[in-house]
């Protein structure tokens, strides 16, 4: 009995990129529906409204209000084609680089604007 239990093993699972850096959790899966063919898992979605929806409608509304308040236009969502999945285990490994992901926007922004301004931040291991 092969196959993968999407709800149990994929949804909300920890994602890592090709260098084993953690890039968040699976917030939604997009299925592709075509006539005459079985549904296909097409895309992994990280971040954005999909994540907010998982908390509840009140949170979606709150998020919308805050985005309006701070005049945020860009949706920091990553939509990764499912064929980028390399391995499904304790965490799901994707053939992407975290630096190119929209959903890692906050991490990148903090890194550039805040963290790396303070001495001692650069490098790999301490």
């Amino acid at each position: 009995m092969g196959g993968v239990n999407l709800a149990h093993d994929v949804l909300d699972a920890q994602l890592v990129d090709h260098r084993q850096e953690k890039i968040g959790r699976v917030d939604a899966l997009l299925l592709e529906l075509e006539d005459g063919r079985p549904p296909r898992v097409a895309t992994i979605v990280i971040g954005g409204a999909a994540r907010a929806r998982r908390v509840g409608p009140w949170f979606v509304a709150l998020r919308r209000a805050l985005r309006w308040l701070f005049r945020q236009r860009a949706e920091h969502v990553s939509r990764i084609p499912f064929d980028k999945v390399r391995r499904i285990g304790d965490s799901i490994e994707l053939d992407v680089d975290e630096r190119s992901l929209e959903s890692e926007h906050l991490e990148q922004w903090l890194k550039e604007r805040v963290i790396c301004r303070i001495p001692g931040a650069e490098g790999e291991q301490k």
Binding site: D12, I23, G24, V55, V114, I115, A121
Partner: protein, 405 residues
Amino acid sequence: MKKWGEVALGVVTSIGGFLEVGSIATSTQAGAEFGYRLAWVLVLGTLSLGFLMEMTGRLAAVSQRTYADLLRERFGYRFFLLPLAAVLVVSFLVLASEIGGVSIALQMATGISFSWWAIPVALLGWALLWRGTFGIVEKGTALLGLVAIVFAVGALKLHPAWPAVGRGLLPSMPRDDRARYWYLAVSILGASISPYLYLFYSAGAIEDGWTIEHLGVNRVTAGLGNLFGGGLAVCSLIAAALVLAPREIRVDRYEQIAMVLASPLGRAGFVLFLATLCITCFGSTLEIVLALAYTMAQGFGWNWSENLKPGKDARFATTYTVLILLAAVPVAIGLNPLTLTNVAMVATAASLPVTVIPLFVLMNDGDILLKHTNGWLSNGALVFIALLSVVLLVAAVPLQLLAGG
């Protein structure tokens, strides 16, 4: 051989970790007002914490995931936000109290008012987290925390009547001042069983690379560490019972507690008391900040580790930076550290159900723990602790209002 070195380290960390501003404040208040009669609550708290730590340690070693991580995964994002919020609020209060503890110790040593010390202490803590590795933070605070043994020395020097102490270690009902008795009982339990302790322990197991091979190490560390730590807290209760209670001195301010060790041990006792307060509270400050940052990072799937340079885990680093600086504010604006501590302890006690009850589900899940799920003893203990946590939740607010101080 290396494993037993790790055990020793773990035990030592627990000793210092157990004794911090909360246990010192609550144990000495209890000793001053009720003699030995509340010692049994310390025993109860110590045993409960020991069980909880062993379990979250086992969880991490077998599944290679921390408790926060598994909480999110098993119960879903929406549910996870509840324990996260509770732990954040409550641990923040405790964090502010610990900074208060260091600040008061420095005030007693130098005469400079405690509110001036809050920000420098937070900055020093931040610098250590920024540059230090998990090993340094853990080992450093562990070894320095051994200074807490002065409480045992002080208690012994006071020649307690051991039969009376023994009676205090058994549960008893109060004769008078009932509301105050139970209030102190609740705050002792809040000081002993703090969620950040078992969350941190679980993350620490991962940072230290524990695996299934380490289950024995885990059991010994959790058991012995808490035994010694709890023992030191009982010693501080005994010392207060023998120095303060006979003179009917109530602890209304932190400053009064130093006399508890100055009396039996003279100047050395006084100096070592200040050192203990300073070091154990500082160690706990680092521990709590890390525990909170871990919980957020693990729950939200960010990169995290104290061994990575901050550039590699920017959100994790930002979290601990913001938390430690914010937590300095209550003390910096001059809030009474003892009142802050008492409120933090009771709030902690009240918040226990949200982190204890889900643990029951996880510890019996064969998918996560393979063949290392809970046996009857652990499950029995966990059910008892869960029931206790609900009682505490119900009793906390009324008791704080009736007899808080």
